[in-house]
Amino acid sequence: MRKLLYFSVIMLLVFSMTVPVAAVVVPYESYNYDYWEDMVFTPAPYIPARNISGATVGAGSFSRPNDLAIGPNGRVYVADTGNNRIVILNPEMTETVGIIETFDNDGTLDRFNEPFGLTVSPENLLYIADTMNERIVVLKDRDDDLSDDDFNMELVKIVRDPQSEMFDSNFAFVPMKLTVDFAGRIYVVPRGSVEGIMVFDPNGDFTGYVGTINVQISPWQIFWRSISTRAQLDRGFLIIPTEFTGVDIDPDGFVYATNIDPVGEKAVRRLNPTGEDVIRTGENQNLGGDLVNDDMGLYGGPSVIVDVVYRERGIYSLLDSKRGRIFTYDHEGNLLYIFGGRGSQVGTFRQPVAIEYLGGCIAVLDATYNEIITFDVTLYGSLINEAVGLRYDGDESQAVEKWHEVLVLNGNLELANVGIGKAYLTAGDNVNAMKYLELGKNRTFYSIAYQRYRNEILKENMPYIFTGIVVIIAALVVFMYMRKGKEKGDS
């Protein structure tokens, strides 16, 4: 009894010292889904850090800002849509280093009209989706010196009026979000386009659509359409594919694009340079944000994914504007953690529109609060990030140490158990692999471990098994002979 008391006191002390995040009250729930798709609460992977409004950085209030971008030098670019300007912040987001309201267009002073999206290429070119002017403006810093603070922006080119026989007569080019790859190809999410993402070559010529989403019709809809009259069909809604909402690009040139999936199964795509979707899904085949969405009303239904950010080493995060959640996946499509929420406390959102990642911290832009909300990683979050990153690099044995540390903080995390189990499997320790893979509820890899274990046992005991079979057959033969002899003797 006394031992137990000591033990519990020690454990209490140990845990109260090593888990500082438990003491921080976060204004949202952090959770993940287990094998049975039940919600399991977890320690907070990220905690709110700062709220940055236009006033605190000395740029005057933002008005309906709609996009964030990080430059190669770490500077933060905000598309301040309502004020028709681009605001540039220093990497720490403490002060404004520049505001672009006008630029020199062939000798005339030109302005933006509601720029909804922007991105910065690795060559430090600034691409702006000048939405209401129906064009994309590409600017660059004239003196090309990244360290100074004077912004002498020079026009590089303007992309407008794309030409193609694919467009019908009343086609309007309304760019919303965009990203650019290392070769200078521009990927644009246009408003109201169901064909997919528009691709422009480095000269600004339209080359085609990529990532077209296929329409999904349920058998129920087919049934109703088959019994509807022509007039009813004309008045009913059209079944058209959903639009893309946000794009990002990874250093290898793969485009991550989000869309609003009405069934909550696949809200993000990873398009290779030929436009094929090559994203990987986890065990539950789901990339749609929340799995449980039985709630009714404003907060019910599948997640509305509005933006994606590729972070590093295969990890990407999705932003949900319906419940204000941030979903983080690894390169295998496993959900790592979920956090964030809507509300009016510091660290919650009202209308999140864009997400970015800068140096270990997640920044979310809110178009109603007109603020950038940043989140700092906790011990729990950083351990998961590192473990997943190590696995991405192929360094499983080092990842195992991190997974063990994660398990101390959250013993329920199936991902950690699977990570450890897979490492044991590679090392050839089938018994331990079985133990952890069963805890992690991974049928496929558990079965591999189990089959190896079973074969091992069979191989070791093969002599005994065969001897046993021979002995039994011999015994049966002898028994039958004796019985025959007995019957003969009886008769």
């Binding site: 049975w36 039940d38 069963e438 509820k441 049928r443 496929t444 558990y446 079965s447 591999i448 189990y450 089959q451 079973r454």
Partner: protein, 210 residues
């Protein structure tokens, strides 16, 4: 007591599984078998069903074992059993069935024996199979379910002295009547609840007044 639990009744299982038509005939017309033993069969089925749901290995088990409550499972099994028997009895009464409620219960209870027998070994088997070998598990379960279903069909057919077609029709109607029974039960529950609330409010009114 001895009448219900005689040796004959216990050994009767074997006869039910091998010679179903003959033995069901004897249940109806020679008073073989007994209701208490049938109820025990249902209880044991509830038990093995729970065991299978909890202890079947996760390679084949989609149920979260922590959410399984043995008593709830037992209650559901018994509820379905009684619903089926009462539903079948009320339909066959109207359709010239010769079986009594006692016969229906005995037949259905005894028919569950193949499932009872198969569920425990199948649960054990599930611990020595890997993904890709689930076929053995599901095939064994399918055999158990199929055997029990055939026994129930033959039993209902025999005790009521029906043709196969008529049995199938009555089985369909039985399921309809089960739904009606549930509906009436819910209706009764809500009506009685309203009556209770009304009387309780009258009572509180009186108490506050005097």
């Amino acid at each position: 007591m001895t009448k219900y639990f005689s040796k004959d009744c216990l050994y009767y299982f074997r006869r039910v599984m091998t010679n179903p038509i003959d033995s069901f005939y004897e249940i109806r017309y020679r008073d073989y078998g007994s209701v208490p033993i049938a109820l025990i069969c249902v209880a044991i089925f509830g038990l093995t069903f729970t065991i299978n749901r909890i202890f079947a290995h996760f390679v084949v088990n989609d149920v979260n074992p922590l959410t399984v409550n043995g008593l709830t499972e037992m209650r559901v099994v018994f509820l379905m059993f009684f619903l089926f028997c009462v539903g079948n009895w009320s339909i066959t009464c109207l359709m010239n069935g010769e079986g009594r409620l006692k016969d229906i219960m005995t037949v259905v209870g005894y028919s569950l024996v193949p499932l009872i027998v198969i569920l425990i070994p199948v649960t054990l088997i599930s611990h020595v199979i890997a993904a890709g070998e689930e076929v053995f598990y599901y095939f064994a379960i399918a055999i158990g379910i199929g055997w029990s279903a055939i026994l129930v069909l033959l039993g209902i057919m025999t005790v009521h002295n029906y043709s196969l077609a008529k049995t199938l029709i009555t089985l369909f109607l039985t399921f309809v009547s089960m739904f009606i029974l549930i509906f009436i039960a819910l209706l009764m529950y809500s009506l009685i609840n309203q009556l209770y609330v009304f009387l309780y409010s009258v009572y509180t009114e009186l108490v506050f007044r005097f």
